[in-house]
């Protein structure tokens, strides 16, 4: 049993979720603060786009930007940075594909926090920064957590964009989804089956764990509270 794809997938998904979570949450917060409706809707649509496009389109666009013979790719190549056909590319693919899930979940989580809490916090003198970290984020936490699970699982299962920019290099960029596909196509269905089972198990563990955590917090907060819900 070749464990490399499992390790690569887990490494890729773990690193990419950290990046995705930070950027997704931060951008969701910024977008929520935009006053002008038209501007907000436009930016929101752009950030949601990778969600509805096929991953191969995202991969294609990434290549268009970072490909070795494209301006940016060449520029990066000058300073010795390569982001195609290596492990970093798998992370980039996972981040781009899973980002909209995180972003939309974070936005929804922020929106459902009653603005009255932020108002109360302002009247007792809390700075905007303290409000974000001590009021907004903790109250949005369940939504952020579920966004994180979604994004992590999506990153784990990423295939189309990864194949395009990271390649299918066994032991380097061959993630579990790529390994499954190559195995099926190469007639090694037993091998594919093993990866499929692992993938399902890992995803299930994460979904269960975070579901459990968020439910406990929700029960503690929500029972009998008097603040109005939208």
């Amino acid at each position: 049993m070749e464990w490399a794809p499992v390790i690569i997938s887990l490494k890729t998904a773990s690193v990419s979720i950290l990046i995705t979570f930070a950027i997704g949450t931060w951008l969701a917060y910024l977008v929520c603060r935009i006053r002008k409706d038209s501007v907000r809707s436009t930016i929101d649509a752009i950030l949601t786009l990778p969600l509805v496009l096929p991953p191969t389109v995202a991969g294609f666009l990434l290549l268009y930007i970072f490909g070795s013979y494209r301006p940016l790719g060449e520029l990066l190549g000058e300073i010795g940075v390569r982001i195609v056909f290596n492990w970093q590319a798998t992370v980039i693919a996972a981040v781009v594909i899973s980002f909209p899930l995180m972003y939309r979940s974070a936005k929804a989580a922020f929106v459902q926090v009653d603005p009255i809490f932020m108002q109360a916090a302002r009247t007792i003198g809390l700075s905007e920064r303290r409000i974000v970290f001590r009021i907004l984020l903790p109250l949005a936490a369940p939504g952020l957590a579920s966004g994180g699970i979604l994004a992590f699982s999506r990153g784990l299962g990423e295939f189309g964009a990864t194949a395009l920019i990271a390649g299918n290099i066994p032991g380097v960029t061959r993630t579990m989804p790529l390994a499954i596909y190559s195995a099926v196509v190469g007639g090694r269905t037993e091998e594919a089956y093993r990866y499929v089972v692992i993938l399902i198990l890992v995803s299930f563990i994460f979904v269960w764990l975070l579901s459990f955590l968020t439910d406990r917090r929700t029960t503690r907060q929500r029972s009998g509270e008097r603040t109005p819900r939208l």
Partner: protein
């Protein structure tokens, strides 16, 4: 000290246009729902920006459209009592009060000392580690008050603090508030649609209708407008308490 406010704001089909000044300890703004009274409060607190006007607390101008002054709510020194209390549901009583405390440089008391003093003062001893969801209505109100006072505002605005309560609780709550007001040095503005409440708690009453002030004066004047309210004079039911400022060294 006086609070002065001139506020003009277009609002839901009519325009709010008020101009008042008050030196009383407790000013009441009396009006029906939708008359714009909550909007006045929010403008003073800085949660809403008027179209035009000027608001000052004592010498400090916190809003002036002509001079482009618009102080952030955080800096206005104005506390706001929300009708639903707005206690942070993910924090304990202690944390709710504690987060509002910002020990000034000249005080030697630590944050936890201030918090325990306030907890004592508002009869919340023993409840420090409870979450708002596990408190009674009365307890929640006291926490809300304690939190406001913990931030040491110069003025406190109260938004229909008793409207949601049944009459059984209302009496107790009003006593609580009167007690708190007695201790505190600053001024209060109370918004309500209940004549009784206004009469009980306030010295001066302004009535509002359709965004405009329709009368201002003492409690007796308000009765003319309300018609048939019970005559409750100032001070007749206010309990007294020791002046125990939690923020200064004993």
């Amino acid at each position: 000290m006086s609070i002065s406010a001139r506020i003009v704001k277009r609002f839901r089909g009519f325009a709010l246009d008020v101009d008042f000044e008050s030196e009383s300890k407790a000013l009441g703004i009396l009006g029906a729902s939708g008359s714009g009274k909550t909007l006045i409060l929010k403008s003073i607190a800085g949660l809403v920006t008027p179209d035009e006007g000027r608001i000052a607390i004592g010498e400090r101008v916190i809003y002036d459209s002509a001079a482009h002054v618009d102080v952030k709510p955080q800096r206005r020194g104005v506390g706001y009592f929300f009708q639903s209390y707005a206690l942070f549901p993910h924090m304990t009583v202690q944390e709710n009060i504690g987060i509002a405390v910002n020990p000034a440089d000249d005080d030697d008391r630590s944050q936890s000392e201030i918090v325990s003093c306030l907890t004592e003062r508002y009869q919340l001893a023993g409840l420090e580690h409870r979450y708002p969801a596990n408190l009674s209505g009365g307890q929640q109100q006291r926490v809300a008050l304690a939190r406001i006072f913990a931030s040491r505002p110069e003025a406190v605005l109260l938004d229909e603090p008793f409207s949601a309560l049944d009459s059984y609780l209302r009496g107790n709550m009003q006593d609580e508030l009167l007690r708190a007001m007695e201790d505190y040095q600053g001024q209060f503005i109370l918004v309500t649609h209940s004549c009784d409440e206004a009469a009980l708690i306030c010295d001066t009453i302004i009535t509002i209708s359709g965004g405009k002030i329709t009368s201002r004066g003492g409690v007796d004047k308000a009765f003319d407008v309300c018609g048939g309210c019970r005559a409750l004079g100032k001070g007749s039911t206010r309990p007294s308490s020791e002046a125990n400022d939690c923020f200064m060294r004993p």
